[in-house]
């Protein structure tokens, strides 16, 4: 989700060698480790992968990336299977552990970069996985050619076989894999298939491990069961940066099954987080006993330095900061002159709240720390981060820490941070036992790296033709980069305002200005970081400009986005942004929903579109608002342009899910603080939307563009909320400028 050094797409050069061996089951493993030097960086990164071809022709493909519901465990093996040329229904998958290797220059990847965030899981492996499959296929061809005594050039493949038409012969891969593994790797990278020839990629396939999910067999992190495992929970400080002054565990210790109680030290205020909070750990023979033990603790808290933090104070501070002048991040053209010469000025403020990630599987981690090694099993988006967290907690070298990662019960950016891994490792180290640390929902709602909240002031100056000549976005917010190691204050704005986002390079005189609010709430990457806030603000403001200047909201967008052309885009998702792709999408959704028809009072259609980390999406939403303020979403049209859809079924699912996430969050979700304490605790006061909110008239469309896939996990969310609030305005004339919508429609 955030741009992170470990997400930099691999720039593969040449494969160096190929190894093979027999597995325990007697099947052959065809491993294709790569060694590739990153251009300019000078560090050699060892990348690896494996394919197993069983004697009966079944193929097991290793998956090296965390599956958080985005479909990567299906999509990446599709790429390998396509180039390898095997039947998809013969493929199964095997999750791989974290692979890191110590070198003279530090740690490097063994199985390729592992980690999912920023919608890069697919794009950063697109070339890599295809080359793995193509190389293996090439080896199999060479092995067959050698056996037949002919040139490899006269051979080809059909699914699972090497074929020589002139000889009229074919050999199954399963018979060739041993020979293939002993051959050197071709000097030239084998050519990759034409997209037009794909049989697997780009076609509708189901989630490869769905049957295990619907039968309850899938093991998530929370389902880890290991010999002698004990269960732990932590009573964390309810005060931001608070600490236990003293605690009385005498009652807790009397509970049958409570084994140990001890203090856990959190980071000093202002210091980077390894874990989120100080607290008291309870270890017991079962989860429930540990929770009972925790309930029985009597803890006196030192409220710490943030005891006076409150949402009220936060919003007041933001408003007063906007009275002054802030850090100017972008200053194109002559903004002041454009505003001074404007025929009309439109100006509004918008507030976006803190929100919780709330993955449905609460944080948990299995850790077993022994004298010279440690085993971690965690639901994580960033297994290498898990390894670092465990190393921090245990003092062990990372090569002695084995990290397995499970299918993850939701990520949304929360599990880019491995604080719960560090906690579990601390507890296991202290007790010497294998530990499953379990967070309750209350722990998760109250202890998170929340989506940053902020107050946005928007101002636009229009000339006599209704064209926008000057534009500013002034944001007072709590930056996501707060308390990051080695993060200078002057960079804090970059996490919250992306310099090259629309309308940069479209509106000539443009200024972005930032004010940082250092409230003590931890914050982090929340699905489509900054984009969810900025799409709401900008797409609402465009609507307001249109209404206040007598223009049509659709036409104004079309005029601004314009024709296809590549604009420079320096941030994650670049190097270019083609606003014409938004024109196409917004026109498409408008047409599908029959935009422009006359609607009765109380019914309205709203539109929005946004460019997110390389991908494009648009929404059209139709609502009815009753006289009492009852909101009903009648129809949703969502469309995505992700370049090329590798795994269209998952693209559609992500678009549906992102749309639902955006609407659910806009409708009712907000984290607030009072007296330095988070006010919400569970789903009764953090009410995720349920099925009844979403109509059956809900279309999700994929509009293919070219042969280059973009990510898809985050693109579906940003334009959903503004399409909804724009629809509410169209229906009622009521403009939502503060999220969540909650009861603002009640009259």
């Amino acid at each position: 989700m955030s741009v992170n050094a470990s997400f930099v797409p691999h720039s593969l050069t040449r494969r160096q060698f190929l190894v093979a061996g027999s597995t325990v089951s007697g099947a052959f493993v065809l491993g294709v480790p790569f060694s590739a030097a990153t251009a300019g960086a000078g560090d050699v990164r060892q990348l690896g992968f494996f394919i197993e071809i069983q004697t009966d022709g079944h193929v097991i493909i290793g998956t090296n990336q965390p599956e958080i519901g985005q479909g990567v465990r299906t999509a990446l093996p599709m790429l390998v299977a396509e180039e390898l040329d095997v039947d998809w229904d013969k493929v199964s998958i095997r999750p791989m552990p974290l692979g890191i290797v110590k070198t003279a220059d530090g740690y490097t990847w063994k199985y390729g970069g592992q980690g999912v965030g920023g919608s890069t899981g697919l794009t950063s492996n697109w070339d890599f996985m295809r080359e793995v499959g193509a190389t293996a296929r090439q080896q199999l061809i060479q092995a067959a050619a050698a056996r037949w005594g002919i040139s490899p050039g006269t051979c080809t493949t059909e699914p699972g076989y090497v074929v020589c038409t002139s000889l009229g012969e074919k050999l199954p891969y399963a018979d060739l894999v041993g020979d293939a593994a002993n051959l050197g790797v071709p000097e030239e990278s084998p050519p990759l298939k034409d997209v037009a020839d794909y049989r697997i990629v780009g076609k509708m396939h189901k989630t490869i491990d769905a049957r295990d999910i619907v039968t309850g067999k899938t093991k998530y992190g929370i389902d880890t069961r290991q010999p002698n495992m004990r269960f732990a929970v932590i009573a964390r400080s309810p005060y931001l940066n608070g600490t236990p002054k003293s605690f009385d565990a005498s009652v807790a210790r009397k509970i049958d099954g409570v084994l140990d109680v001890f203090e856990i030290k959190g980071p000093a205020p202002g210091e980077p987080y390894q874990i989120l909070a100080s607290g008291v750990a309870v270890v017991a023979t079962s989860t429930w006993t540990a929770i009972q033990g925790r309930d029985a603790l009597r803890i006196e808290w030192d409220k710490g330095p943030n005891a006076k933090d409150s949402s009220e104070k936060f919003w007041a501070e933001n408003a007063s900061m906007l009275e002054g002048s802030g850090q100017v991040g972008v200053d194109d053209g002559d903004f002041e002159a454009a505003m001074a010469g404007a025929d009309k000025i439109v100006e509004h403020q918008y507030a976006v709240p803190f929100v919780n990630h709330a993955p449905l599987e609460p944080q948990n981690c299995y850790a077993f720390v022994e004298k010279d090694r440690c085993h971690i099993i965690a639901p994580t988006q960033m297994p290498s981060g898990a390894s670092r967290s465990a190393a921090w907690a245990t003092g062990l070298e990372r090569e002695n820490i084995h990290v397995d990662f499970t299918r993850v019960g939701g990520g949304f950016g929360r599990r880019l941070t491995n604080d719960y891994v560090a906690e579990a490792a601390l507890i296991s180290k202290q007790t010497g036992w294998p530990i499953q640390l379990q967070w309750t929902r209350e722990d998760d709602v109250k202890n998170d790296f929340y989506r940053p909240a902020g107050l946005h002031e928007m101002r636009a100056g229009l000339n006599a033709n209704g064209e926008i000549a000057g534009w500013t976005q002034r944001l007072a917010s709590a930056s996501k980069y707060y308390r990051r190691p080695n993060m200078p204050d002057e960079n804090l704005w970059e996490a919250e305002l992306y310099a090259d986002d629309f309308p940069r390079n479209i509106v000539p005189n443009l200024r972005l200005e930032y004010f940082h609010n250092a409230i003590g709430i931890p914050r982090g990457s929340w699905r489509a970081p900054a984009h969810t806030a900025n799409a709401f603000v900008v797409q609402s403001f465009i609507d307001e400009i249109a209404h206040e200047t007598g223009q049509d909201p659709l036409q104004l967008r079309i005029d601004l986005y314009g024709e296809e052309r590549e604009l420079e885009y320096g941030g994650h998702g670049g190097p270019t942004f083609n606003p014409g792709r938004l024109t196409r999408l917004i026109k498409f959704v408008a047409e599908r929903i029959d935009y422009g028809r006359t609607l009765p009072k109380g019914r309205g259609i709203g539109l929005a579109s946004h460019f997110t980390f390389g991908g494009y999406a648009a929404h059209a939403i139709e609502v009815v608002v009753g006289n009492n303020g009852d909101l009903s979403i009648e129809r949703i049209i969502a469309a995505i342009d992700c370049g090329y859809a590798v795994h269209p079924n998952a693209v559609e699912a992500q678009l549906q899910g992102g749309t639902i996430d955006g609407i659910s969050t806009a409708l009712g979700l907000e984290i607030t603080v009072e007296d330095g304490q988070i006010q919400q605790s569970n789903f009764h006061d953090y009410p995720l939307a349920r099925i009844a909110t979403f109509p059956n008239r809900f279309e999700a469309h994929i509009l293919p563009y070219d042969e280059n896939p973009t990510g898809v996990g985050e693109m579906g969310i940003p334009s959903a909320a503004p399409a909804l609030t724009n629809a509410i305005f169209a229906a009622t004339g009521k403009r939502i400028r503060r999220l969540p919508i909650k009861d603002q429609l009640r009259v």
Binding site: K206, T215, G216, S286, A358, A653, N682, F683
Partner: protein, 159 residues
């Protein structure tokens, strides 16, 4: 000692009777298909059947099920290699994203279809109150209608 049945087997729990059934299933019987999401009856991830009716196991003290029969997602289908029609419908529409809520969604749907064999969208809205954080609701809705059809067609398990 609290005796009851889980997936047609006789079992006994020898601990604190106030322990929620959820944790007894997960920690004592290693039946981890039933999930913990909220612990307060809000999300439905922990939904099981008690004497055939959907219940939130996080809100059910194990003492309360003495002598009763519990079905979990692991025991829903008639046989090991078979699928309940609701599971089959879930696969047909490829409902799961992260998948974490889906056992609960399926258990809730089986119960719904027992009460209302051919639910309307409004019936679904009213009766399916389980949370899916990934937002699979669009596919859940289709899969529920499909499951209703599959059950009407035969009601027997498919493999």
């Amino acid at each position: 000692m609290i005796s009851f049945q889980v997936n047609s087997e006789n079992v006994a729990f020898d601990g604190d009777g106030s322990t929620p059934l959820l944790w007894v299933l997960r920690d004592h019987f290693n039946l981890t298909g039933t999930k913990f999401g909220c612990g307060i009856g809000q999300c439905g991830a922990c939904t099981v059947h008690i004497n055939g009716a959907a219940r939130r196991s996080c809100m059910t003290p194990v003492a309360a099920i003495k002598g009763r029969s519990v079905t979990t997602i692991e025991g829903l289908a008639a046989g090991n290699d078979e699928l309940h029609p609701v599971q089959a419908a879930w696969l047909e529409y490829d409902v799961p994203q992260c998948g974490y809520c889906q056992a609960g969604q399926i258990m809730a749907t089986v119960d719904l279809l027992q009460r209302i064999p051919k639910p309307t969208d409004a019936d679904i809205d009213k009766n399916i109150r389980n949370i899916c954080r990934c937002g699979t609701y669009a596919r859940i809705r289709k899969a529920i209608h499909k499951a209703a059809e599959l059950q009407a067609e035969g009601g027997s398990d498919v493999s």
